[in-house]
């Protein structure tokens, strides 16, 4: 079935077979720009021992002294920087995929940063219990790590269920409900932790998330991000349940009359939003090794910005999972590019804000062009 054939809102699915090609072009352009103008960097050469420890490589100079060996690399286009870029993108991108689901359904989720914080701190308490200084330090990591993972994903999903449940039962706009739960979830996180940072997790868990391949590349967050995006993409485009989300967001009343259980669809997207906040929290806990109630402040706006840059329409019915990932990547590339190009950081917010607006304008222009093309085609075939 061609997804564009009967899509309720047209938009992303209409007029083009690959709606993200514009974003991909932007990413390639940014990559080229940063590779050419970013210059090169000298980095100490590192070597990994068979036991996994990394150390610097030295050579003996003419006067018999040991000095470190340096390698010259392109500042942007090198494996470490690209892996870093992927890792930094992953936390937001994972949540942006589900934010895209919510936005396609015509809703909005302002509580995602707070869900991330609450999942983080509660799971951190479980992980700490099974950590080296915890009461359950003697317990097998095969029990401790799954318990922590379950806590993180479970809390996230539960928060999503609370959001979705209140939205469908109280029939209040998601903006209001999630504005309220944003404060409640963060408040609960604060009360539980008393504002303290929680660390000291089982080393197995840390090693699992920080697992490195090749020259110290940490690819687990990247792999999870790709997995979530692929799963989200397949669900949206290849499954009937996914298509119902477009239908609800495109025209809720029409969807209801056509027999779609709108409440169930809305509940499912908020459930997924909570779950992905939990997934992002797991990665953050494993990678950074601690959690506080202040984690994820303002992430809701980053996530929504990524979805919007990725082609979401805030009026619903439009967007793709891949678009969310690419939107997050564009924003992160700009943020990293500011460091690579040595631009004064004071300008970063202005640049990122401008990019969000330009992306939306370009998307609207693209849509206008597509509609014009369709109109011209229709005119050409009509007698």
């Amino acid at each position: 079935m061609n997804p564009s054939a009967n899509h309720p809102a047209g938009g992303r699915f209409s007029g083009t077979r690959f709606p993200e090609k514009g974003l991909l072009l932007v990413i390639v352009g940014l990559g080229l720009l940063l590779s050419i103008f970013g210059g090169s960097v000298q980095r100490p050469l590192m070597q990994t021992d068979p036991d996994g420890t990394r150390h610097r490589v030295f050579h003996t100079n003419a006067s018999g002294e040991q000095e470190p060996v340096f390698v010259k690399e392109n500042k942007f286009f090198n494996s470490q920087n690209l892996a870093q870029l992927a890792k930094d993108t992953s936390f937001v991108a994972i949540m942006a995929v589900s934010a895209m689901f919510v936005i396609i359904s015509g809703g909005i989720d302002l509580s995602v940063g707070a869900v991330y914080a609450l999942s983080s701190v509660l799971a951190a308490m479980v992980f700490q219990r099974f950590g080296p200084d915890g009461a359950g330090s003697g317990v097998s990591p095969w029990l401790g790590v799954p318990a922590g993972l379950l806590a993180c994903l479970g809390v996230g999903t539960l928060c999503g269920l609370i959001n979705g449940g209140m939205i469908v039962t109280l029939r209040v706009h998601p903006f209001i409900i999630t504005l309220g739960t944003m404060a409640i979830f963060r408040g609960v996180a604060f009360v539980i932790t008393k504002g303290q940072s929680i660390g000291g997790f089982p080393q197995v868990f840390r090693d699992m998330v920080r697992a490195e391949v090749g020259n110290g590349l940490s690819l687990v967050p990247l792999a999870v991000m790709v997995l979530v995006t692929v799963a989200g993409g397949v669900y949206l485009t290849r499954m009937a349940a996914g298509r119902r989300i477009y239908a609800v967001g495109g025209n809720e009343l029409a969807a209801r009359y056509s027999g779609i259980r709108v409440e169930r669809v809305k509940l499912s997207v908020f459930l997924f939003a909570g779950l992905t906040a939990g997934v992002a929290a797991v990665l953050s806990l494993g990678y950074y090794g601690s959690a506080t109630s202040g984690d994820g402040q303002g992430y809701e706006l980053n996530v929504i910005a990524a979805a919007v840059v990725g082609g979401a329409s805030l009026s619903g019915g439009k967007g793709t999972a891949l678009g969310a990932l690419l939107g997050a990547l564009v924003i992160q590339m700009i943020s990293s590019g500011i460091v690579i190009l040595g631009i004064d950081q004071n300008y970063s917010q202005i640049i990122i804000g401008a990019v969000v607006i330009v992306a939306v304008l370009l998307d609207q222009f693209n849509r206008w062009l597509a509609e014009r093309r369709l109109a011209a085609r229709a005119k050409a075939v009509s007698p």
């Binding site: 960097v41 090198n78 920087n81 504002g195 990678y287 402040q297 303002g298 950081q345």
Partner: protein, 322 residues
């Protein structure tokens, strides 16, 4: 004759240009990353100015170019700080100075930077379990003790004291509060009512002071371990001198409260030195391979009173970003 003079001038100009290019090329470049807690806090802007001044002074002293790369989140976010450290290492930074929003979260990023040959110094807020070679700043527990000591003197060792505690998340503020409580034990006539927490914005802090004063009119003194409410014009409602107040930090907006007699003593942290001295320590480590004698490099607080406030205020002309 005229042509010969013109040729001579061109040759001199070209020689000058070549000489300056050659000097610039022979000078070695160093990049120091500066990662503070938040952009909006003026104390970190002063640290930034300090680091840039140090880069200029040390560059002249050692005949090198030093660039300060300021990578600070807009609002406190330890994850963003960790990302900034990782990005700075990849961008080829020679050293990094960081004020840690969450020590646990930054420890791995600091260790990774050090393992990659980039020395790290912490200032203001430390990551004690990390491989940083030095930490520079206020001893928070002593700071709390000093606040209480000065306040007890102002209150003639008698009365009810409230502590303004800022963000409950911040471990350094918790240590200051512990210092206040510990010092208060030395004064039997002093009672600590409680520590009152709030969002670290001037408006929230001023509102908290007002709420607490409404609920507890018996308060005779405020131990403000940060002077957040004093950024606003109208933070204090009591008559000057009726309630004693000692606060940490002495930013330009706060000095007027001292002049007007609402606040008796401001204990100034050496915020400009956070940047200046951290850069010095890093360049000593990078260029001279010299580590400080102790890992903890404590900077004392400077008491600012009505007597020396105008003299102290002149510092801010130098410390604020131009």
């Amino acid at each position: 004759m005229k042509n010969r003079l013109l040729n001579l001038l061109i040759v001199i100009a070209l020689a000058g240009a070549f000489a300056s290019v050659a000097t610039a090329q022979t000078k070695k470049n160093y990049l120091i990353g500066l990662v503070a807690k938040s952009q909006g806090n003026p104390v970190f802007q002063a640290a930034r100015v300090g680091a840039m001044d140090a880069a200029r002074d040390l560059g002249q002293k050692y005949g090198v170019n030093i660039k300060i790369d300021w990578r600070t989140p807009n609002e406190e976010d330890a994850q963003k700080q960790a990302e900034a450290i990782e990005q700075l290492v990849l961008a080829g930074a020679d050293g990094i100075a960081v004020s840690c929003s969450d020590a646990n979260k930054l420890t791995d990023a600091i260790n990774s930077a050090v393992d990659n040959g980039v020395p790290v110094a912490t200032f203001d807020s430390d990551a004690p379990a990390s491989k940083r070679f030095v930490t520079y700043g206020t001893d928070d527990f002593s700071c709390g003790e000093q606040v209480m000591d000065e306040l007890a003197r102002e209150m003639s060792s008698n009365g009810v004291v409230a502590i303004l505690g800022g963000n409950q998340n911040a471990p350094n503020l918790q240590k200051r509060i512990a210092g206040v409580r510990e010092e208060a034990k030395k004064y039997p006539g002093i009672t600590i009512l409680d520590a009152f927490y709030h969002k670290e914005t001037p408006q929230d802090a001023a509102a908290k002071v007002e709420q607490v004063m409404q609920a507890h009119p018996e308060i005779g003194g405020w131990a403000m371990i940060g002077a957040w409410p004093l950024f606003t014009d109208n933070a204090i409602k009591w008559k000057p001198g009726t309630i004693k107040c000692v606060a940490v930090d002495a930013l330009p907006a706060e000095l007027q409260y001292l002049r007007d007699g609402y606040v008796q003593i401001l204990l100034a942290q050496q915020v400009y030195q956070w940047g200046y001295h951290s850069t010095e320590l890093l360049m000593d480590k990078i260029l001279l391979k010299k580590s400080p004698p102790a890992v903890k490099d404590v900077s004392p607080l400077i008491p600012v009173t009505k007597a020396n406030v105008d003299e102290f205020a002149k510092n801010w002309q130098k410390w604020l970003p131009k």
